[in-house]
């Protein structure tokens, strides 16, 4: 029996190695030469569609994106659709956090597109310029930061920003300190890690008056993870746990999680759009004009991304960007490709 088992294992491992070898990364294809100019007669008969060259099946090569775990679901969705529409290359979507994404984009210069859950900082722009990149901004959506507890939590429905800050800094450690009618149980804390743009935004929006990033990282008993699913699992597991992350992850777990009102405002489309929900923030992708012109597949992907947001963004769990911002993104795209 063990001899047959070992033989099977050996064959399996050998096969796996062979398959891994077959999966060697394809070299980047040379950019397609520009189409020959049409004759005058043909031009008159059928005017050339200026956007045809940016169709998914008309471009080749790879697209490399990296950055925010919050923007990740949007970009991943667009990447899948882009490939379904005929794109032959690969779109890499690495979820490593906004700050880390900008570093890869602006310092290492390895990625074509950087996913970000906050606007690019001046220091990051300077880093980009230092390597010859001029960041081009595309607003893609609005994220509501969801502050969540387990669905089994039957006592809390609303928290003020002040209270959230006190909880995450350790000034409040048990629920009865929030409200005397709540149970006297230790609050279990879950938070994205410091590489996450969600973390950065939370520090900026909630922790400024409560010791800032230091207090959040020094919080006794807190659990941190870049993987929002780890946070979901942790909060779901106890009625006394609290966490925060992008609205997308809340939407995927509405049967087991409960999103709290913040300052009495419920996280939904209307309150995000009219600006009354206090923990809403813009989501972006960044690229550069040089990249878009040098790699048409990047320009094609960004155009596809922007024009397919409306049909997909609610499904992914975010809110559409305001119309003015969306139009600005399209203008930036035209600026990028040089039209």
């Amino acid at each position: 029996m063990s001899k047959i088992f070992r033989t099977s294992m050996f064959l399996f491992v050998a096969l796996s190695v062979a398959l891994a070898a077959c999966g060697a990364p394809a070299t980047e294809a040379a950019p397609a030469t520009e189409a020959a100019p049409v004759t005058e007669a043909a031009a008159e008969a059928a005017p050339e569609d200026p956007m045809a060259m940016y169709a998914p099946d008309a471009v080749e090569g790879d697209v490399i994106t990296a950055g925010s775990s919050t923007v990740f679901p949007v970009t991943e969705r667009m990447a899948e659709l882009f490939q379904q529409e005929g794109f032959a290359g690969s779109v890499t979507v690495d979820s490593i956090g906004t700050g880390a994404g900008f570093e890869r984009f602006c310092v290492a210069g390895e990625s074509d597109i950087s996913n970000a859950s906050r606007p690019i900082k001046d220091s990051e722009v300077e880093q980009c310029q230092a390597i010859g990149r001029e960041p081009l901004e595309f607003r893609v959506a609005t994220d509501a930061l969801a502050v969540v507890v387990s669905a089994e939590n039957d006592f809390v429905t609303n928290l003020t920003i002040e209270q959230i800050g006190q909880i995450y800094s350790g000034e409040i450690t048990t629920w009865d300190q929030v409200d005397p009618s709540f149970p006297a149980e230790t609050i279990q804390i879950y938070s994205p890690g410091s590489d996450s743009g969600t973390f950065d935004y939370f520090v900026e929006a909630v922790m400024e008056d409560h010791g800032g990033e230091e207090a959040l990282l020094a919080r006794e008993g807190a659990q941190y993870s870049e993987d929002d699913n780890v946070l979901v699992q942790g909060v779901v597991g106890s009625p006394y746990a609290i966490g925060y992350f992008g609205y997308a992850y809340y939407v995927e777990n509405t049967d087991t999680l409960k999103a709290l009102n913040v300052e009495g405002v419920e996280p939904n489309q209307e309150d995000v759009d009219n600006g009354t929900y206090p923990l809403a923030r813009p989501l972006y992708i960044y690229s550069t004009a040089a990249i878009m012109q040098e790699k048409p597949q990047v320009a094609a992907f960004i155009y596809f991304y922007l024009t397919n947001l409306e049909d997909n963004i609610i499904d992914v769990g975010y809110f559409p960007a305001p119309a003015a911002e969306f139009e600005q993104a399209l203008k930036n795209w035209e600026l990028g490709v040089g039209k």
Partner: protein
């Protein structure tokens, strides 16, 4: 007679002298050379690992904010805000490893005694491979088993908020299950290596099978079993995915198994998951932790060697 012998004189035999000088053969040379190279490669890899660990860890320790005293005596680990007390991570590693050995040692030893002393050859032929298949399960699977199966069961035994969703207890229990086949298999090999004569002698004195197993064979195999236990501990200390998934995601100085806490290995896995900047204290701190792990397993290996030599007995 004498005349006959004399009439046949012995003619001297001249034998051609063979040249016994070693003849050079290209095939043999290549084989020996490649075998030598593979041996050297193992040593080279070990030295390369030690060099890399030492180099990066040195960058951590020469940082002005880091002192050896602080490193070994403070109980908060959060490099992002200047806290460098590795005790917070060591406490979690020790707690989970202790729970693991608490589970796997009695179960492993009992399995080994059964397989070695009680099982029929047919039963042993089936059970031992099955036990060893347990060793082939990827540890990330064990991690989710701990998080999604064991933790909910444990919550039935603890009221309210006592047991956190991420806790060292479920991670430790499942880690014990993971190293169970290792201990059982090595212990069984040690028990089987004890000469038959010792058993026969015990039976001759009227001992029962249980008495023979526990009072004669087990002490005789002590050196092998000791080595198995220490290797099991070493394996538990170095285990990464089970504790990364199930034990917790925040450094926490605690020996309470019900608490969430992050082990040395789990911390390295979590922090490496982000995109660390090279040449930051966050980055070099991972190598300091790795060096600590390396030293711990090195010490355990040395103890293992000592145990084997100390308790070894010659029976034949």
């Amino acid at each position: 007679m004498e005349e006959n012998i004399k009439s046949q004189p012995m003619e001297p035999q001249i034998f051609r002298q063979f040249d016994l000088k070693k003849k050079f053969r290209i095939g043999e040379f290549l084989i020996q050379g490649s075998l030598f190279l593979t041996g050297i490669l193992s040593i080279f890899v070990t030295l390369a690992i030690v060099y890399e660990l030492g180099k990066e860890a040195l960058l951590f320790f020469v940082d002005p904010d880091v002192t050896l005293v602080k490193f070994f005596t403070t109980t908060r680990w959060q490099p992002g805000i200047g806290q460098y007390g590795i005790v917070a991570l060591v406490s979690a590693t020790l707690t989970t490893s202790f729970i693991a050995i608490l589970i796997s040692l009695p179960l492993g030893l009992a399995s080994a005694i059964y397989l070695s002393e009680y099982a029929s050859p047919k039963a042993r032929g089936i059970l031992k491979p099955v036990l060893e298949i347990l060793a082939g399960i990827p540890t990330v699977v064990y991690g989710y088993f701990a998080l999604l199966f064991v933790t909910p069961i444990l919550k039935l035994f603890f009221s309210g908020n006592q047991l956190q969703t991420y806790n060292m207890l479920s991670a430790g229990l499942v880690m014990g299950i993971m190293i169970l086949p290792l201990i059982a298999s090595m212990s069984e090999d040690s028990l089987s290596a004890v000469p038959r004569a010792l058993r026969e002698g015990a039976y001759a004195m009227g001992a029962t099978k249980l008495e023979t197993s526990t009072q004669v064979v087990l002490p005789a195999a002590l050196s092998g079993i000791g080595a198995a236990v220490i290797i099991g501990i070493s394996r538990a200390v170095g285990e990464t995915m089970i504790v990364a998934v199930a034990a917790g995601a925040g450094p926490n100085f605690s020996f309470n198994p019900l608490d969430a806490a992050e082990t040395m290995t789990g911390h390295i896995a979590r922090i490496s998951g982000g995109d660390l900047s090279y040449n930051t204290i966050d980055y070099t701190s991972l190598f300091a932790i790795a060096l600590m792990l390396f030293l711990v397993t090195l010490v355990l290996n040395l103890i293992s060697q000592w145990v084997v030599n100390k308790f070894r007995e010659q029976y034949e």
